[in-house]
């Protein structure tokens, strides 16, 4: 257990050295936040109460979303891109003969990264947004706790998907095509381009059932207190996808380990 903790701590420190990159990332998130606020203000003024959100819900959604893009890894976070690269180049062999589980090793790296980015890139845009607009915040300690759990679950679901995508490289040699396809799905179904509550009819129902909905939309709805079936069902939905994805991840790891041939030299 200690070794995984140590990896997470070092991953946190590693990301904390990229100060200017973090700052310019947070700046970009803030600029996009203002753009989306302009768009959503128009949208929600034209049809008030759209998707069960009021105007301040919609604006809060924007700032939470911009803050969470990087920590949750909607665009595919560094760690998993790195793992994909290591599978492609064969360096993954080094990871495999370490006396640790491949999946938990990378999960620890991802957890350290996510924690750092949550503190910096999550906090900064939300702070700016809260200064300019009237945003909603959780009102009780229980709700804050639920938000923390939902965020952790969201990162785990996202990791589960990205891990599978990275390991696909064991079978299709160049996983980058699949990586970008995974990015499309994640952009579309996580609520990044538009809150999923606004998706009409069956598209909305499909979108809200995908694992990507569990990464971004569900945690934000927990924050807003707007989960369609209540907070508990939102968290259970996330937990369901965590179990499915981690079992799949475990299976794929075993298959990949059996397949890999390490040529010594």
């Amino acid at each position: 257990m200690g070794v995984y903790w140590a990896i997470a701590v070092r991953s946190f420190r590693r990301f904390s050295t990229y100060r200017i990159a973090t700052l310019s990332g947070a700046f970009t998130n803030t600029v996009f936040g203002f753009i989306f606020c302009g768009v959503y203000l128009t949208l929600w003024h034209t049809s008030p109460g759209l998707g069960g959100y009021d105007v301040s819900d919609a604006l809060t959604f924007v700032w939470l979303q911009q803050g969470l893009l990087a920590p949750i890894g909607i665009f595919g976070a560094t760690t998993t891109v790195e793992l994909g690269e290591r599978v492609r180049t064969g360096e993954v062999a080094v990871d495999l003969y370490r006396p640790t589980h491949l999946m938990i090793w990378w999960l620890s790296v991802d957890a350290g990264r996510a924690w750092f980015q949550l503190l910096t890139r999550g906090g900064a845009p939300l702070l700016v947004g809260a200064l300019v607009f009237d945003l909603n915040f959780p009102t009780s300690a229980a709700q804050w706790l639920a938000v923390a759990v939902a965020l952790a679950f969201g990162i785990l679901v996202s990791f589960g998907v990205r891990y599978l995508v990275a390991l696909s490289g064991f079978w299709i040699t160049d996983s980058r095509g699949l990586e970008s396809l995974a990015m499309v799905l994640s952009l579309f179904f996580s609520g990044t381009i538009l809150p999923l509550v606004v998706f009409p009819g069956w598209i909305g129902e499909v979108a809200r059932a995908t694992p990507w909905a569990a990464t971004l939309q569900v945690p934000i709805d927990v924050w807003l207190g707007r989960n369609p079936g209540g907070v508990r069902s939102g968290l259970l939905f996330q937990l369901f996808w965590i179990v499915v994805l981690f079992l799949a991840g475990r299976l794929v790891t075993v298959l990949a380990t059996r397949k890999v041939v390490i040529a010594g030299g």
Binding site: I20, A21, G177, S180
Partner: protein, 255 residues
């Protein structure tokens, strides 16, 4: 050329990347479509007019990204020391920077933009006159140039601050995100800022207003869209100055 061949080495993966590139960049338009399932007009623009705005914004950014997007990797090249190698080759460093890791998959964005634009133009009752046709063609070129200049300005800034690659994103990708909507919805201050400070309004907004015979905001004359090429020339000059300044300021990290 080498980069083009290397990306075509795995045709299936390349095709998948091209398609997903078109899809990734197209999701913004799908968002607009989804919005219009709830409303009839957005900031005074109909769906077809929004599609024209989106198509021109995405097309110009796509072309700029294809031509100069690689330049944003300059920070990595400075840190890795490759820039020193570029400087002693008998080809301008700028050319090497824009062709570095030239990514053909970036064709995905202009391709989907072209499709959206074609559908938009087919559904709009525009009174086509010679100046309007010329304006559309020229504004696509000048808009691409404005975005390209912003890419280069962002790269030049990396000579000062090496890790700031993402900063330029707020003006390039953010600029596309902004210009795909009628700018007037963002309020007068934003319109002023993108007219006089970072001239993103000239990329497509003012030219499209002229095409659609809509009045310009802030009491500006309707023909302001015709100034787009002038703005593009000014932006090139600024970008060239900044790039040269950056190169002159560059001191190798040594090893």
């Amino acid at each position: 050329m080498m980069w083009v061949r290397s990306s075509l080495a795995y045709p299936a993966s390349f095709l998948l990347m091209l398609v997903s590139q078109a899809l990734i960049t197209g999701t913004d338009f799908i968002a607009v479509l989804l919005m219009f399932s709830h409303l009839k007009s957005f900031g005074g623009f109909s769906l077809a007019e929004m599609a024209l705005l989106y198509g021109t914004a995405s097309m110009t950014l796509g072309l700029a990204d294809l031509a100069t997007g690689s330049v944003e990797r300059i920070g990595q090249r400075i840190r890795g020391g490759e820039l020193d190698v570029w400087l002693i080759r008998p080809v301008p460093a700028f050319l090497q920077a824009v062709t570095d890791n030239f990514a053909l998959r970036r064709l995905g964005r202009p391709l989907q933009a072209l499709l959206v634009m074609a559908i938009a133009l087919g559904n709009l009752p525009i009174n086509w006159t010679v100046p309007k046709v010329l304006l559309l063609a020229i504004s696509l070129i000048s808009g691409s140039i404005i975005f390209a200049a912003i890419f280069v300005l962002g790269a030049a800034f990396q000579f000062i601050s090496i890790d700031s690659a993402e900063l330029a994103n707020s003006f390039t990708y953010g600029g596309q995100q902004l210009t795909q909507y009628p700018l007037s919805i963002f309020g007068k201050n934003i319109v002023r800022a993108v007219t006089f400070v970072v001239p993103l309004a000239f990329v497509n907004y003012y030219p499209v207003l002229y095409l659609l015979d809509k009045p310009a905001p802030l009491g500006l004359p309707a023909w302001i869209g015709l100034l787009a090429p002038v703005v593009a020339v000014v932006m090139i000059a600024l970008a060239a100055l900044a790039w040269r300044g950056g190169l002159r300021r560059y001191r190798s990290t040594g090893s």
